[in-house]
Amino acid sequence: MVLELSVFWLLQAFGPQDQSQVGTVISGELQVEDVQVVAMLVRRCIAGDSAAWEEIVQTYHRRIYNICYRFAGSGDDAQDLTQEVFIKMYRTLPSYDHTKGAFVTWVTTITRNLLVDHFRKTKQDRMTDSIDTVASEHEDAQPLSEQIQDQSAPPDARVRSREVGETVHAALARLSPELREALILRDLQDMDYREIASVLKVPEGTVKSRINRGRAELARLLQRTYRQVM
């Protein structure tokens, strides 16, 4: 880690500023992804350095888990999917080309592809489930309206905030997968439109349109639910 950081600072001080650095803010220890640093990390991984691989896992697992959790809606599914993402990433690591894009975009693309596969596999299961019983990790499959009724009861602001979060999470799960993935990448992962377009393999205009529609639909969904409760 010390070596990567020193290389990063050296490159930041003397290297070309426009190409080598990709300003992607990610959660975790590595705040700014540098193409050269990540490329070196990947080379070490391919050479068999287990410490480098562990560093990649430590850096990206939280981000991948959050994407999976918000898309799949369940903590168990998110854990399984995160493991699958890393297994696939490990196998295809030599195919990563740092000149084609940021490592985080590559990782997100792998995650998104696996999520699409997972969505297709579980389509039949979801069709049999009730809309109101969208599973959440911290809820006991309560209907959305009941969750909102309960949220006025606890006086603690933290509990209330958590329950609001679960309500929004449940509403997010009711959006179509195209809108949901665009919202997750933009509003929860703070990716820019170009990177999202690269991950979703659609034009940037389509990405913006999906984000607008997704936000509006989510707001209408929550407003309608609140209106029913009131």
Binding site: G48, H61, T82, H169, L183, D187, R215, E217
Partner: protein, 262 residues
């Protein structure tokens, strides 16, 4: 979204700029036109409000903490795979040289082992034992002895003779089967009954001038039309002019013919 123009901006253009407007990336005249359109357009105004509200909801979501054992599980499922692969490669390199004969034996054993394992099961062993027992009993009853097999002549003439013998035996056996015989005789009877009467011969025989004493029609020789057919013994006493022997006054005896069915 309806594509109408309001305050110099079309709804499609508004939709494209909506994300940038929410992100705060619009400024100057473009921002003014955008805001003016949002205020005047019935469709785009609520859309802007909803999109801002939706973004607000999503920004309120906090990051979820992954399970504590997730990193360990990921490393176990990935790094463990690497070590195993390397070990496998090393093991392959360290394998002793094996001859092709041993390899063939090993591959054959690999194919035959499942079959042999199936055969070794008690139920299959019992089935094979019963089949062998039934075969040996059948051959013994049929009079086939293993010693006879050694005396078999394989010369062409001998084979032909054996074939002819066997064929004759089969035909004989078939023709003497009771059901075959009954069916044949029934078919013959039906044919005779069903066949239309033959038109009379073109010229009638002159009985007066017939001195041959031959019957008109050849008599059909059927010896066994029925099992209980009465056959009269020749009784020359009927003819008064004929010679009369001692047996003239013999009674008529019903004779039943039996056909021996084999």
């Amino acid at each position: 979204m309806p594509d109408q123009t309001s305050n110099g901006m079309r709804c499609n253009e508004f939709d494209l700029l909506l994300s940038d407007a929410i992100d705060g990336a619009l400024s100057g005249a473009e921002l003014s036109r955008f805001q003016a359109h949002a205020q005047s357009c019935e469709a785009c105004g609520p859309l802007l409000a909803d999109a801002e509200a939706g973004r607000g909801w999503l920004k309120g979501l906090t990051e979820v903490e992954p399970p504590a054992n997730l990193v360990t599980a990921i490393l176990a499922s990935t790094s463990g795979g690497v070590d195993t692969q390397r070990l496998r490669v090393n093991a392959r390199d360290n394998q002793p040289q094996v001859s092709w004969l041993e390899r063939v034996q090993a591959s054959l054993f690999g194919y035959l082992e499942p079959i042999w394992a199936t055969v070794r099961q008690p139920r299959f062993a019992m089935s094979f034992g019963m089949a062998f027992f039934a075969l040996s009993v059948g051959l013994t009853v049929a009079g086939v002895k293993p010693a006879d097999l050694a005396n078999i002549s394989l010369r062409p003439t001998s084979i032909k003779r054996t074939y002819a013998h066997t064929q004759a035996r089969v035909v004989h056996y078939y023709e003497n089967i009771r059901i075959v015989y009954e069916v044949e005789s029934l078919a013959r009877q039906v044919k005779r009954n069903v066949a239309p009467a033959e038109p009379g011969p073109a010229k009638q025989k002159d009985h007066k001038n017939d001195t041959t004493q031959q019957p008109d029609q050849p008599q059909e020789r059927n010896y066994s039309q029925s099992d209980t057919q009465l056959i009269l013994a020749s009784a020359p006493s009927i003819a008064p002019q004929g010679p009369c022997f001692d047996s003239c006054d013999l009674p008529v005896v019903p004779v039943t013919t039996y056909r021996r069915f084999v």
